[in-house]
Amino acid sequence: MKLDVNALGTFYQMAQEGAGLAAGRLTRLTGVDTRVGVTKLNFMRGSDIRAELADESKKVGVRVELSGGLGGHAVIVFDRASAIRLVETLQPTIDDAPSLPEGPDDAFDEMNRSTITEVGQIMNSGFIDGWADVLGTAIDVATPEFVEGDTAEAFLADVDTTPGADDLALLFQSQIEAIDTEIEFRYYLFPEHDAMAEVLERQGADGESGIEYDKLAGFDRLAQRGADEVASNVTMLTGIDTSVEIRRLNFVPLEAMPEEIDDEQLVGVAFEFDGTPSGYLLFLFDESSAREIVRAMVPNEPDDEFGQMGQSAIKELGNIMASGFLDGWANVLDTTIDHSPPEYIHDMGAAVIDPVVIQLGENQEFAFVFDTVVQAADREFDCNIYAIPDEADLERAINDLPMNRIEDAPTKAAIEEIETDP
């Protein structure tokens, strides 16, 4: 089976329709205004999904098994605090409202559990009705199950469709923001392999274009090599000990990208790269992380971290990171990828990315975004890396990739000579 952009576009539409219906139903039920936030299709490794669910915060979820037009499992996961707020919002409408758990370790009582299950199920059915609409099929939903805990097992036990540690799963991630109330949740769909294959077959255009599903692992290899090179280059140059925290491959409409980035001021370095694939690469730091970098790289701390000295330090670091990242890719793909000199930016998050979105938007509607977060253990250093390759180039590069190369492409740590500004 092949993943082509048509089929992925259909999945995206499912995620969005589902989120719209779920948000509307949540509003009708609770009277709380809601807004559908960013909807994403993620390609995530099983081990990363488990890590995300086991991030030590207590969570509450409602899980259902699906069959019919789309078999698999769907789980809605709330932060514990969000679940409590949800019950609080609904309590005035319930006679003999139960008391909420007081301590952080107190369990939800039976009444609370059933309230959460009811809300979860109403949202579940919103999502699932949305998917069924898009697919033009009927999806059957089993009885909802209340799940709770701070481990991945709590949410994934008995779900036979979850991916293995190194398998890449196509995951829906939707966010509904409740205005004036913080209710956050994540939504996971784990479709059966065969159900996915069938949907892909039906939605795909001609069966010839597209990316081989089994080569999806190649994406992850790219993401991994690129990110590892960046982290080791940063450590070498600044002495700041960094590691790769998050690594995702998102499939998003270009328009969703500026929405996803924080409204706060960001400092960053941008590049265009040229080869197979070509595209754009951005390294974005929050202001305090950027200050930390300048302090680590400039011997005498400047008065203004973002003055001339600071800017060139950040550009230099960006350049090293870009070389590392693209070397990582070039090694996996057995090709060369050149990049432009660094462009420094210090501006609102969305404004930083929209020029790239516009440029790619002339020829494509969706983009594969390699989304990586590099962090330091002992100080503030958060770097978001966005690599956005040209879609056609990427498809070609991945399909040309021999399977054995995906398995054992070598990495080399290389630091190229830094281009200095005239």
């Binding site: 329709e17 719209g20 219906l21 948000a23 509307g24 139903r25 509003t27 009708r28 205004d33 809601t34 807004r35 559908v36 205005i179 270009l254 328009e255 500026p258 929405e259 980035i261 409204d263 001021q265 941008a270 265009e272 070509s278 754009y280 432009s340 462009e343 930016i345 210090h346 501006d347 609102m348 998050g349 969305a350 404004a351 930083v352 990315i353 929209d354 020029p355 790239v356 979105v357 516009i358 440029q359 938007g361 002339e362 509607e365």
Partner: protein
Amino acid sequence: MKTYGSEPGAPDPDPIRVGISEFVVSDSGQTLKSYGLGSCLAVGLYDEDSEIGGLAHIMLPDGDANDASEDKPGKFADTAVRAMLRQMVEKGASYTDVEAKVAGGSDMFDFESFGDGVGQRNIVAAREELDKLGVPIVAEEVGGQRGRTVVFETDTGAFSIKTADGDQEVREL
């Protein structure tokens, strides 16, 4: 707008966030807001007498040459301006009284692949379409290398811009 829950009865928040490729028309005095425009362009249309206004957050110049403009007129300068003006007139605005204010279209990066600049293309396209329709541009702040956030209050027609410069000063156009 679909973004705010697609089931009927879901109330609209205020201010309404006008995301990239969207446009919103209001006849009830809502505040419309577009965050962090870089090379994107914000076009605000306003009829002072009827207090009907609209804001578009435009991504690309030419919708007439692109099939996607049928589903997403707000994405392109030409189709966004036309669709917004039509909706305003349907809601009771007087065509001949509508005026435009334009902001955005910065060129943040000097990349080879960007040619003359992606922001510049949107500015030119919006100006051309407004001119064709006979809608005067009464104020604009376009180009440059900074991002902008635009807030458009449709009860008064106030159109203000915030940039990310040191003091984050708010300017009214």
